[in-house]
């Protein structure tokens, strides 16, 4: 983190979805605590990865940042300006700087519009007329994302899944945004196509200096894409650190369990240590008291049940590596990195 003010500063961000019930008068009987007190920053041109399992609140976070959802509490400030509860009118100039890429390339493109219309849509809405006209700009964008500019007049159904996702990327780039929130941008794609889109996003990030909030459940892809990574569990960030610190020195038991559960396409003579978590993620309607991970944690004590651990730089962490755990893991308990990682080296 730099000393200058970050591009995006989120503090105490909370979103509770009310649950209505009762008869004859429907009233709020509870709340799904989807996101509960998040603090993080994104610097200009930086890529922050948000990982976690389904229901951890990572997509809700993405929708809060883009203000597609109204936060229940906390603040979101963009370039020092508080946009937590900004009105549509106040948001209008900022909307063009924060764009989103969606998961499902089939549902996120209007089937009745041509590619040209889809990509120029954001320019029309914001009444932007680039030099040389919108069509020229769209053709440029198509070229940037690796599509044929001649496909300007085609419809989405004429494209494969990977190509559709490229159209989604082109649309997000149309307004030259400063921040892109990418919500599972490659998880609906085949393995060989995933790599194409990841490379494209990485190139876009480097060439155009766009900051990314990269939301995904695939730890290997997040590691590949993000300079900093936050691990979420049940609406809270349990650990946030620079990529190498997080993957090389995970301090939270959940981070460690998550990393050890990822199956890897290698055959090892010395099998990796495996941590098997019991049970499922508890319901966010009534999350466990204290540390939310304690019901599945092998180290949990009474302290974990009574006291929620703060997200702090625990002893032994480098600067910027924050962990929310009363009993953090130590370096010694982390298995040594394995040597054979590519099938080629064994050949």
């Amino acid at each position: 983190m730099s000393s200058t003010s970050p591009l995006l500063d989120v503090s105490g961000l909370t979103k509770h979805f009310p649950i209505k019930g009762g008869f004859p008068i429907r009233r709020t009987v509870g709340a799904v605590q989807a996101v509960d007190g998040l603090d993080f920053q994104v610097a200009e041109g930086e890529s922050l990865g948000l990982v976690g399992e389904s229901g951890c609140g990572k997509s809700t976070t993405g929708r809060l940042i883009t203000r597609l959802l109204e936060p229940t509490g906390g603040t979101i400030s963009y370039r020092g300006q508080d946009i937590t509860h900004a009105s549509r009118r106040q948001l209008a100039p900022i909307r063009s700087e924060i764009q989103m890429i969606f998961q499902d390339p089939y549902a996120s493109l209007n089937p009745r519009q041509t590619v040209g219309k889809i990509i120029s849509g954001p320019m029309e809405i914001n009444n932007i007329n680039p030099a040389g006209g919108r069509e020229k700009r769209v053709r440029e964008l198509l070229e940037i994302v690796g599509l044929n500019p001649e496909h300007y007049n085609r419809f989405p159904h004429e494209f494969s899944g990977g190509q559709r996702q490229r159209i989604g990327v082109a649309r997000a780039l149309a307004l030259e945004p400063k921040l892109i929130v990418a919500d599972e941008p490659v998880s609906a794609l085949d393995v060989s196509i995933q790599a194409q889109v990841v490379n494209l996003l990485q190139q876009v990030q480097k060439d155009l200096g766009i900051a990314f909030v990269f939301i995904a459940h695939d730890l290997a892809i997040v590691r590949h894409f993000s300079q900093r990574v936050a691990v979420m569990y049940l609406g809270k960030i349990v650990e946030i650190a620079d990529r190498d610190d997080l993957y090389g020195n995970p301090r939270h038991p959940y981070t460690r369990a998550l990393l050890s559960a990822v199956p890897e396409a290698t055959v090892d003579d010395t099998p990796r240590e495996r941590i098997r978590l019991e049970g499922d993620v508890p319901s966010p309607i009534s999350p466990p008291s204290g540390c939310r991970f304690r019901t599945r944690c092998w180290k949990a004590t009474e302290k974990c049940a009574s006291e929620a651990p703060p997200l702090v730089q625990v002893e032994g962490n480098k600067a910027g590596h924050l962990t929310a755990c009363h009993f953090p893991e130590t370096q010694e308990t982390v298995p040594a990195p394995r040597l054979s990682k590519d099938p080629e080296t064994a050949a």
């Binding site: 399992e53 190509q163 590691r223 055959v267 978590l277 590519d342």
Partner: protein
Amino acid sequence: MTSTDQQPFLSVKDLKVHFSTEDGIVKAVDGLSFDLARGKTLGIVGESGSGKSVTNLTILGLHNPDSTEVEGSITLDGQELNGASESTLEKLRGNKMAMIFQDALASLSPYHTIGRQIGETYRKHTGASKQEARVRAIEMLRRVGIPQPDRRVDDYPHQFSGGMRQRAMIAMALVCDPELLIADEPTTALDVTVQAQIMDLLKDLQQEFGTSIIFITHDLGVIADIADDVLVMYGGRCVERGPKEEVLRTPQHPYTWGLLGSMPTLDGPVDVPLTPIPGSPPSLLNPPSGCRFHPRCAFANKVDGNRCATESPVLEIVDGRGNACHLTDEQRREFLADLAASKAN
């Protein structure tokens, strides 16, 4: 494969599955052969549309006979399944062979309790009473690790979490102790920690009952965890086959190289771009001539006389290991050495 029997437990020979559609004939599977021994796991990898699911639906006889043309032979324990009558297949399905589907919520009936759905198969094949079936369902739920099975047996699918539903599906598939279990992407919809639980469960159950498993997935990491043998499919054909260790350590087909190169790892280099496979999977309505992978293959120009585009490579299997590619072993070694050298720099 180390089969002590003269005949492998499951043997698929030159299987062809063609669908007639309005646009023409879709050659979903086009000449696939493999064997599976008792108590072993065969992992089938491939991308969407590679024919992996169709192969397995055909083994179970779940294809639509009106629009599907099936050629070749499928023998299970010496019994020919292709062309077998519906009543013969009905006796085998759920009893001797069973399937686990990807989407557990869509595969369970929302109107019936979990216990009833598990018991139904059992009653059909054993003629057990309702009470006996219920006892059996509770036992199965306990075996797959559902807490408080005697209470959960009366729950409906929506009361179960995603991981529990997948466990219930496994319980349903295993209720008659099948000898062949086909698992079609059983963990794809699950989170990694739950996926790890389910894979451990399948491994334990296999050890206990000696079930043969066909495990279909697009994830080579899952294959590395669970399979004994691997079959890589592309465009309805097998491009590479062999023991897991050999396929992952010394892959032979450019498509397998491409798959491995496309996947980021937890400990690989981060600042180099991934090496994806260019283009997209072929249409099976009008598949490419010759090797179906040649339009996307970086090595097609290394083979003399444009053979990749004109001549379909033959899959030669020696001792359970082989590939369908025109590259010579010499060229393959050269390439792998080059790659290792470039990685080292």
